[in-house]
Every structure is written in C-alpha cells, then in structure tokens.
C-alpha cells in the first residue's frame, strides 16, 4: 500500500465515522418515535426515511446536488452567507454518506428499541421517573447493544457509498476520493493492482463492520 492509498483509506474511514456520528442523534430520535409513539403521518415518515435505501443512489445524489449546489436552497445560503462551498468538497461526501446510511441506522435502532420490554419503562414511570429519565436509564441501556450494531451497520454502508458521492463530490484526489470512488478510478486508469489492494481493504473493513454489527445485535436479542 502506498501512502496515497493509506490516505484514501484513512479519509474514507474518518468521514464515514463522522457522518455516522452526525446522524446518530436525529437517527435515534426518529427511531424511538417510530418504535414507541403513535402519531399521525407516522407511516409516511417511516416510508420517507426508508427511501434512500431503495432509491437509486444516483437519484438521491441528484436531489442533493440540486439542494446543495451553489444555486440550490441550502448550498446557496452556505455560499452567500457563510462563504462555504459544499459541492466538490469533503462536506459533500459527509452529507452523501449521512443521507445514504440514515435509513439503515433508523431501521436497526428502531428494532433495538422495539426489543426492549415496555413493562420496564412502565414500571419506572409508575415509580415517578420522567420520560427523559426513563429513556436514559432504562430504554437506552437496554437497547444499547442493538444500537451499537445499528451504528456499525450504518458505518459500513457509509464506507461503501458510491452513487450519491460521485454526484455531489466528484472524484478529486486527496480531497473527495473515497475507497469506492478510488477503486472505480483505478480500474478506469488500468491501475488494477491499486484497485485490488483497495478492494482488499474494503472487504476487510466491511467484513469487520458487518460481523461486529451481528455480534452486538445477537446479544441484544438474548
């Protein structure tokens, strides 16, 4: 592995980790609301949240491109007011990874919350605990393993994202080049050995993340 290849691996790993961290609070909130509360429009929200899971990633990327571009609603605001560009920078990678792995995080943590026996929460409430206290002292600790499993799954999804990323961030060596973009580029360039080395790293990372996720989720169930 060359230093440039390590740089690609390192960049992919930290931007995936950061995106997972950023979507964690809203992800947990949505998951908990879906698992524990009934409200009008719930099924609509549940469907919307799942969309990036089944939509063509490139289509999701196009939506993001239009919103985050300099002429877009969000991108325009960032450019004019904060003098900050999103498209073609690492920020675009961050957003693409976050959006694409959000559904997986919500789905798996929702499942983790549903595994927690609501009786424990009711008992705590009858003993006078507030909703917040019930959540942080009962629900969250009991669902923790499932949540960690979900976080790892979302992280793994982020590691491999391609379609949305190429739309919003492009392939810029040293700036937006993630593992999957670099593999594609190496194949285009005919640099097959680089592609194979990066492929090896992807397999190892994905295996580790999915295996770890399964390990935690199995422990959630028992």
């Amino acid at each position: 592995m060359t230093t440039q290849e390590w740089q690609i691996v390192w960049f992919t790993a930290w931007v995936s980790a950061l995106s997972t961290l950023v979507i964690l609070p809203p992800g947990l909130a949505v998951a908990w609301l879906l698992a524990r509360r009934d409200w009008p429009g719930k099924s609509i929200v549940e469907t919307l949240v799942a969309l990036p899971l089944v939509m063509p990633p490139v289509a999701t990327g196009l939506i993001l491109l239009k919103i985050l571009g300099r002429r877009g609603v969000v991108g325009g605001f960032f450019h004019d007011r904060l003098h900050m560009d999103i498209i073609f920078t690492w920020r675009a990678v961050l957003v693409a990874l976050g959006v694409m792995s959000f559904p997986l995080l919500v789905r798996s943590t929702q499942w983790a919350f549903e595994q927690v026996n609501p009786r424990f929460e009711q008992i705590a409430r009858t003993l006078g605990a507030s909703d917040g206290r019930v959540f942080f002292t009962i629900t969250l600790p009991l669902a923790l393993r499932g949540i960690i499993g979900g976080v790892l799954l979302a992280f793994a999804r982020a590691l491999g994202e391609f379609g949305a990323t190429i739309m919003v961030a492009g392939y810029i060596p040293g700036k937006t080049a993630t593992l999957s973009l670099s593999i594609y580029q190496s194949v285009q360039l005919g640099e097959d050995t680089t592609a194979y080395r990066l492929l090896g790293v992807s397999v190892a990372l994905a295996f580790g993340a999915v295996w770890g996720s399964g390990w935690f989720m199995r422990r959630q169930r028992s």
């Binding site: 491109l65 571009g69 560009d85 498209i87 073609f88 492009g170 810029i172 194949v187 360039l189 005919g190």
Partner: protein, 256 residues
C-alpha cells in the same frame, strides 16, 4: 396487355422487395462525449437514408477504451485523441486500415452565463475568485489531458492543479460550470457552443493549444464489419464533415 404492363414493372417490384428484405444492421458506435450532439444528428440523417440503426455509447474516451478492452460490443470507436486509439491498436483490437481522422477542435475557458468574472488570459484562472476549475479528468480523459498539456505549456498547471475538479468527461465538466458549482472550466469550443448556460470567457488560439485529433476506426470484433465500414465512410464524407463543421469542429480538406 395486362401481362406486358406487369412485365414492365416487374424489375421495379423485385428491387422494392429486395430493398425491404435487405437486413437492416444495427451499428454500435462508442464515441467521445464531445461528439454527442453532432453525431446524434448525423446518425439521424444516416438512419433516414439507409435504414441502418445507429446506437451510441457516449462517454470519456478513456472509459470507452477500457470498455472495449474488456470486450464491450463496439463496431466503431470514435476517440477524442490518438492515444486512446493507439492503445487499442497496440492490443490488436482495431482494424488498422480503417483508421482515419479529419476532425479537430479547440479549447475554450467557460464561465457561467451570469458570472461576473472577467478572464482576459488563462493567468486569471489563478485568481482567488476562482476556487474550482472543472476539467475532464486530466489524467485519463482527452479533453482534460489537452487542457493540462496547454496549461503546462504556459507554466500555469502547477498553480492551478489544486483547484481542478476532474470530471468523468468533458460534458460533465461543462455541466459543473453550468450549475455554478465550478466558477470556470476548460472544455472544447464545440461544447461551449451548445451550452445555453455558459459563455466563452477566453478562446485558446489554435497555435497555442495542443493538437486535438479525433480518430475513428472499425473494431476488429465488430459484429457488423461491413455496415460499420459503410457508416465510417459516411462519417468521413464531406456531407458529414459539413455537419461537424456546423457544430464548430474543424474539418480537414472540407470542400465548400
């Protein structure tokens, strides 16, 4: 009376029938993205005249080269530089004697139509107001390689390289300027000509720019060798040449 009349038109009838039963070929052309509009129109004309169907795969020439190497079913390859064609020829994938080129192009610097940037010379690309410069990938795609070659020649590449956003092909580079996400881009003059959302800020004089050539050839593994060669000859004709010229391409030895 009736029979003699029938005999008179018999050869005509036979010809018409033969014409109907003649096998209409489908020719697959792998062509550089910059040729998209011109080739589309030429193919429409050709289809109308001959009944043969032309199918296209437009992309950066480097992508196409790789696809053909991997066995993609191309009858004709129309590259935006000689190097991609050379690479295929070295691998024995080209019917060498069919290779020819009479098309050329030139480079321009484009900015968004509503851009306030003023670019008097390529040196202005180094200004602070320009954060992203969209090019076709300067490592692989001809339009990008030409642009890098040009910027290198005028000693600007080192300065500009950190701002370069490499795109998959020249049309993608143009689109990045149209959307405003890249402040400037370097594309072919012909791409700029079809874009309604960009304007040419600087035209690279032909003598300063790199030698841009578009070679085309029939592929050895073409399924429709004969039909492909016929279409290739049509592309090489003055009729097609005039159409290419109308799109802004430079055509060698074009009879007026």
């Amino acid at each position: 009376m009736h029979i003699t009349r029938l005999l008179k038109i018999a050869p005509v009838l036979a010809l018409v029938c033969a014409g109907v039963t003649v096998h209409a070929a489908t020719i697959t052309v792998f062509a550089a993205a910059s040729l998209t509009d011109a080739l589309g129109e030429i193919a429409r004309n050709y289809q109308g005249e001959t009944g043969n169907k032309i199918e296209f795969n437009f992309a950066g020439s480097s992508v196409l080269e790789r696809q053909i190497e991997e066995g993609a079913p191309a009858d004709i390859f129309f590259s935006a530089d000689e190097a991609r064609m050379d690479a295929l020829e070295e691998k024995g994938l080209v019917v060498g004697k069919t290779r020819r080129s009479r098309l050329s192009n030139s480079l321009v610097i484009v900015v968004a139509k509503d851009s306030l940037l003023s670019i008097q010379s390529p040196k202005d690309l180094a200004a602070d107001g320009i954060g992203h410069i969209a090019l076709a990938d300067p490592q692989t795609v001809p339009a990008g390689i030409y642009a890098r070659e040009y910027l290198g020649k005028i000693h600007l590449w080192e300065k500009i390289a950190p701002k370069v956003v490499p795109m998959a092909n020249v049309r993608a580079a143009l689109a990045a300027v149209e959307s405003g996400d890249a402040e400037a881009g370097i594309v072919y003059k012909t791409d700029a000509a079809i874009s309604k959302k960009t304007r040419v800020a600087y035209e690279v004089p032909r003598q300063d720019g790199p030698r841009i050539r578009y070679p085309m050839a029939v592929m050895k593994e073409a399924r429709e060798q004969k039909a492909a060669l016929a279409f290739l000859e049509y592309l090489d004709s003055d009729a097609a040449g005039r159409l290419f010229a109308r799109f802004g391409f430079i055509v060698d030895n074009l009879a007026p």
